[in-house]
């Protein structure tokens, strides 16, 4: 029982993205290395660097413009573009003050609502999808493949089609306008892709590991927690980032199910209302957008390692 943890740790130390096939000959490895060095050479040419810099500039310019705009006085935003800041610099934090504290309820409350919505809406689908993916990958039962295809096929159902039937169901259950309806909806919409990604990743784990654990007397629960879970961390992290960004930026689901009541509405709903009944306060949007961008940006910056690695591991490989 206590001897099983060893092998998974050995595997976990290896980067999932670069697992070389065990049986590969040295000649093949040389070929790989040669191609890798050619690619390195090609990619590091000055032209490629130049193009990369230009693309980076092009992609960042609108964001910078938004940031600059958010600090400009109202009358400047309305009359001239942000680039005139270079010839006529004037900055103010009034937009942020008005966006954050101008309403009857400060923007922080909505930020907390968003966090309360986002965390369970990330944790619940991942928990369920992990169990389901394990079942599909390692438990042999009748109709497994059919069921798996059926679940993934649900991915093509557009969520707009489900809004009214789902809302009707929530009204019947009496949970509309609460966090519950939002969590459940996000869970439903996330599950097909989550199960698919995690299943593909689990399938890639060598069966010998699982068999070895089984020979040592481990049951499903032990195999799941001791053998597979440590290996799955990159895949879980990558899907968690996906789901986090999606839920954080979601307006439609929250607007429909949580309603706009101040005690449940998330940041996105509030920012959509910032412009006022007749759209006159649109200059506040840049400041509001930046407040809502900060958290996902931090999450992405700190977890981007997993983002790329997990994506490759989960869906492309094999």
């Amino acid at each position: 029982m206590t001897t099983t943890p060893l092998p998974p740790q050995g595997v976990a130390a290896r980067e999932p993205g670069e697992t070389a096939p065990e049986g590969a000959g040295s000649g093949r490895r040389n070929g790989l290395q040669r191609r890798a060095s050619i690619a390195t050479k090609k990619l590091s040419s000055p032209w490629a660097s130049l193009i990369a810099v230009v693309i980076a500039l092009l992609w960042t310019t609108p964001t910078i413009g938004l940031l600059v705009t958010s600090f400009r006085p109202e009358i400047d935003i309305r009359s001239t573009g942000w680039w005139t800041i270079f010839s006529n610099p004037s900055f103010t934090t009034a937009n942020y003050e008005q966006a954050l504290f101008g309403g009857s309820q400060s923007l922080w409350t909505d930020l907390i609502n968003t966090i309360v919505i986002t965390l369970p809406a990330v944790v619940i689908p991942i928990s369920i999808a992990l169990l389901a993916a394990y079942g599909f990958a390692w438990i042999d039962f009748k109709g497994r493949n059919f069921l798996f295809v059926a679940i993934f096929a649900l991915q093509i159902v557009p969520i707009q089609v489900t809004l009214i039937p789902l809302l009707t169901t929530y009204v019947d259950l009496g949970i509309n306008g609460t966090f519950w309806s939002v969590w459940l909806s996000h869970t439903m919409f996330a599950l097909p892709l989550a199960i698919f990604l995690l299943h593909n990743f689990m399938k890639d784990i060598p069966p010998s590991l699982v068999e070895a654990a089984r020979v040592d007397g481990a049951g499903h629960v032990k195999i799941f927690f001791r053998v597979l879970l440590p290996l799955l961390v990159p895949a879980i992290a990558s899907f968690a980032i996906f789901q986090f960004l999606w839920v954080w930026n979601d307006l439609l689901v929250a607007l429909t199910f949580a309603s706009g009541l101040p005690n449940v509405r998330p940041l996105t709903v509030r920012i959509a209302e910032l412009v006022g009944s007749r759209g006159g306060d649109w200059f506040l949007l840049s400041a509001g957008a930046f407040v809502s961008m900060i958290v996902p940006m931090l999450v992405f910056l700190f977890l981007q390692r997993y983002f790329v690695r997990g994506l490759l591991a989960g869906s492309v490989k094999g």
């Binding site: 109202e74 009358i75 309305r78 009359s79 101008g102 309403g103 009857s104 369970p120 619940i124 928990s127 369920i128 169990l131 079942g135 438990i139 809004l163 009214i164 809302l167 009707t168 929530y170 009204v171 019947d172 509309n176 609460t178 966090f179 519950w180 049951g219 499903h220 629960v221 607007l255 429909t256 309603s259 706009g260 009541l261 709903v269 959509a272 209302e273 412009v275 006022g276 009944s277 007749r278 759209g279 006159g280 649109w282």
Partner: protein, 459 residues
Amino acid sequence: MRINSRRRSAAVAGGLGLVLALTACMPGDDEGTEGGGGGEAAGSEECEPFEQYGDLGGTTVSVYTSIVEPESVDQEESYDLFEQCTGATIQYEGSREFEAQLLVRIQAGNAPDIAYIPQPGLLQTIVRDNPDAMVPAPDETEANVDEFFAPSWKEYGTVDGEFYAAPLGANMKSFVWYSPQMFADAGYEIPETWDDMIALSDQIVADGGKPWCAGIESGDATGWPATDFVEDVVLRSAGEDVYDQWVSHEIPFNDPQIVEALDEVAGILKNPDYVNAGFGDVTTIATTPWTDGGFPILEGECWMHRAANFYQNQWPEGTEVAEDGDVFAFYLPSMTEGTQPVLGGGEFVAAFDDRPEVQAFQTYLSSDHWANEKAKMTEAGGWVSANSGLDVENLATDFDKLSSTILASPDAVIRFDASDLMPGAVGAGTFWTEMVNFFALDKSSQEVADAIEASWPAS
């Protein structure tokens, strides 16, 4: 066998654990305890008018509207007295997605108790498509409306002979904004007739200025400010009877009288000598945000900007709206002597439940009592009502008093915004987009009218 049974029990245990973890997060039923005991706390004198509604302690009325902050703050404050005296709680919710979300909620069986519907056309659609959703207004509300509102307002809240919705606030759209200072310095008089206004425009051109500025960009509703201009002109050039026929499609959209009105609009807004002061040529009308359309007046570049009374709240902070201030507005003159056509708009209070507290609140909103209460709460101005029981002195600004006086004037011939009455495909569709083409692509009046007529849904 052993492995099998273990496997099953493990799966069951895992599933159970998850369910337990999920149910642990269920919210408790600890809401709705406040607001119950407040019934007797408020002063008895203030509460006297509320005795007719009885004790509504512990009840809640949900209100769903398109009015969001900052305007919603005054709205909510105007319910305070009702809440204190009757003990009912008003749960207010405003959304800019109101029109779409209201239909979703009705279809899902999740309709609010009360909704403020800004378009009579939408009211009719809801009543006809969801016959059981909306409940007719109670008799007390109808009595209030008969007493305080003009018959045409009641008509807009009536569908197929049944009275559903009482008017709430009102907009008054027939205004031209100008700078009193500029007019005084140049020695111009405020025009009393349409011809005076055109003569004044020519005078300004002769003096080397550009008289008019305009902007009709408004996100996915781009074009609506121009539809208001057209409606105002139809009401003046063809008269209110033709206007009614036009709205109900008894005459086609490309009727010669409508095309003539479009030509009249083109004579001002598509005249390169007249527009677009402070922005550029005629095509900039289509791309200038409507919220900024009048700003050149503040810089002394533009003389006149036709916009509704709610444009008052669009001026940048620090702009003084007064007859001797930075900007003010005059009534868009009529074309014939002795008539005073007014283009208006407003919200209507529709109820989706007939519980006593809902009916009480509905009745309260239609009363002169609420109208005055709301006027007092709107300290910054920007709100008027067509309620004749409203004391003009309670309104915050001179401009609101002017709007209210025109709306309540016995000579006023008030017609509701046509694009809010026409079928959605036209009123919130081709009428908008064709007005954009009118300016951006320089389509002729006839072409625009023909295109809108072709899009009118067959019924």
